[in-house]
């Protein structure tokens, strides 16, 4: 069967699952064939109904924190938000680590359009080789498509700005149609672009070559990763760079539906994390207290012990936990919690929003309960 791979925000729709998994990268294969979680209560196997009932009893009347959600479908995210409202809970994902809102307002481009017409791609604080392994081969550098039939040798130019020589940087460095800029300060690189445009001297001399390449085509884009989004306190100067160069911006958020969560939260609450009890935005400085103050945490499609700073995830391990997940997680392994096993997203149906903002539909191909089903059950019990 043909599935949409939800291992990262490339959301590859050409993956074939038969006797083997075809076309999916190592990340995709790990998701599709990885070891699944088992439904259990405090380490003892249990039925779905029993687990839902115990979970619901845990939630009722308690201070609830809902965390995760970046790897589940838009529909499940919406139900989670409704639970947060109904139970006056706090809801958040990993976005508080980034300064993403302002960046999403910058002019952006669909990956298919870039594949057909794009020339210069600048990966800034981003190493898609690991975060979105097929991004270069599917959309950015290697395809011979639309107006870009000559492929990477002549029709593309790859720039990587990073503090270390990543795998993507290695491709850029050894290619005739690429350039690696080793940076130690994102602001200085932005300033270098602006200063060269203004005819002034700058720190990173390579930007002159990049600007020359940018002039050769109309469609060029910056792909900003965690390294960039985390480091810039605001997007003001970056916005100036985008305006002056006329390039598009695409965030390379690696979690499959991270963008779906961000868009939903901005639309419905205006913020990326929200405390419904206080009816207020949960700012970065309140996160630690929100973790400390909760009685129960509902974790959806995430393993906080792998993704959160230890000072936060450690607090969660001391709380009562309800874990809704498909693949085995460390948090389920080392805590006594209510674990509800769900179908992985490629089979569960629904929709997700790709890193460039395109909504991708996922066909339901399994009868096993999805994250959405479980969240609905939790609400309806």
């Amino acid at each position: 069967m043909r599935v949409v791979c939800t291992a990262c925000s490339c959301l590859c729709d050409d993956v074939l699952v038969k006797d083997k998994v075809y076309h999916a990268c190592r990340k995709g294969f790990k998701l599709i064939k990885g070891e699944r979680e088992e439904t259990s209560i405090n380490g003892e196997k249990s039925s779905l109904e029993e687990s839902i009932k115990v979970a619901r009893d845990l939630i009722d009347g308690k201070k609830l924190l809902i965390f995760g959600l970046d790897n589940t479908t838009c529909e499940a995210q919406e139900v989670a938000l409704k639970i947060a409202k109904d139970f006056e809970a706090t809801i958040l994902d990993h976005s508080f680590i980034y300064n993403i809102q302002e960046f999403l307002k910058l002019p952006s481009i669909k990956l298919e359009k870039f594949r057909d017409e794009g020339y210069v791609s600048i990966f800034w604080g981003s190493n898609p080789h690991n975060s979105m392994p097929r991004l270069l081969s599917r959309f950015i550098y290697y395809p011979r498509s639309g107006k870009r039939q000559k492929g990477y040798e002549e029709d593309r130019f790859l720039v990587v700005a990073d503090l270390r020589k990543s795998e993507t940087a290695k491709i850029a460095e050894k290619s005739k149609s690429g350039l690696f800029i080793k940076i130690d300060n994102d602001y200085e690189l932005i300033k270098s672009f602006i200063r060269v445009i203004e005819g002034k001297a700058c720190k990173y001399l390579e930007v002159a070559k990049v600007l020359k390449e940018l002039e050769k085509a109309e469609i060029n884009a910056i792909f900003g990763g965690g390294g960039l989004l985390r480091n810039l306190k605001d997007a003001k100067l970056f916005k100036e760079l985008i305006e002056k160069t006329g390039v598009y911006f695409v965030p390379t958020l690696n979690k499959a539906n991270h963008r779906g969560y961000i868009e939903m939260m901005i639309k419905k609450t205006g913020f990326l994390a929200y405390d419904f009890k206080e009816d207020t935005n949960l700012s970065k400085d309140k996160i630690l207290n929100a973790f400390k103050d909760c009685d129960v945490a509902l974790i959806v499609a995430s393993d906080p012990l792998r993704t959160l700073p230890y000072e936060l995830s450690k607090i969660l391990t001391e709380k009562k936990l309800i874990i809704i997940n498909s693949l085995k997680s460390i948090i389920a392994k080392i805590t006594k919690s209510v674990v509800i096993s769900t179908e992985i997203s490629p089979f569960s149906g629904g929709s997700m929003i790709r890193c460039d903002g395109v909504k991708v539909q996922i066909e339901r191909q399994s009868e096993k309960v999805s994250d959405l089903d479980v969240l609905k059950m939790l609400m309806e019990v």
Binding site: H23, K27, R134, S137, Y142, P143
Partner: protein, 155 residues
């Protein structure tokens, strides 16, 4: 990767011709190319050559991993990014609407395909490094950032 001289040094060097080659040096070359097998050298299987034969077997085991064009894939290093599959000029020509534009390759017998998360060699007879009009194409290797692809002569 061993070179012919390393192999030759371990052979009996008698030029006995039992393998069908005129000289042991010629046998060493063909052994590396995969045209001959170690078993073709009969004298090596006498007791006096036991230790040397084991050394040769170790050397040749590396060669045997290589496919016809001398392409070796180290699956441990591959992450299935498909740069090799999409950049391959033969794939572009044979499957322009899938591999050519970055999608998973759909022709029946491609040179390379991503299976279970890593690249696998399927049909090397299509590779530009194979056959009568072969060229020294290195595109798949050049675009592998983790050096998971190598050619025999480069090791």
């Amino acid at each position: 990767m061993p070179n012919p001289m390393e192999i030759y040094k371990l052979l009996p060097k008698t030029n006995c011709g039992k393998c069908g080659e005129k000289t042991c040096m010629s046998f060493a070359f063909k052994l590396l190319n995969g045209e001959k097998k170690l078993e073709d050298c009969k004298p090596l299987y006498s007791k006096e050559y036991d230790v040397i034969r084991k050394k040769l077997e170790e050397l040749i085991s590396i060669v045997e991993k290589a496919k016809e064009t001398g392409l070796i894939i180290n699956e441990e290093l591959c992450i299935g990014c498909a740069n090799c599959v999409v950049s391959c000029p033969v794939h572009v020509e044979k499957d322009p609407k899938n591999a050519g534009i970055g999608r998973g390759i759909e022709i029946d017998e491609p040179i390379l395909r991503i299976e279970n998360g890593v690249v696998v060699v399927i049909n090397l007879s299509l590779c530009r490094r194979y056959g009568k009009n072969r060229t020294l194409c290195v595109i798949c290797r050049e675009n592998c950032p983790t050096d998971a692809i190598a050619f025999v002569e480069e090791l």
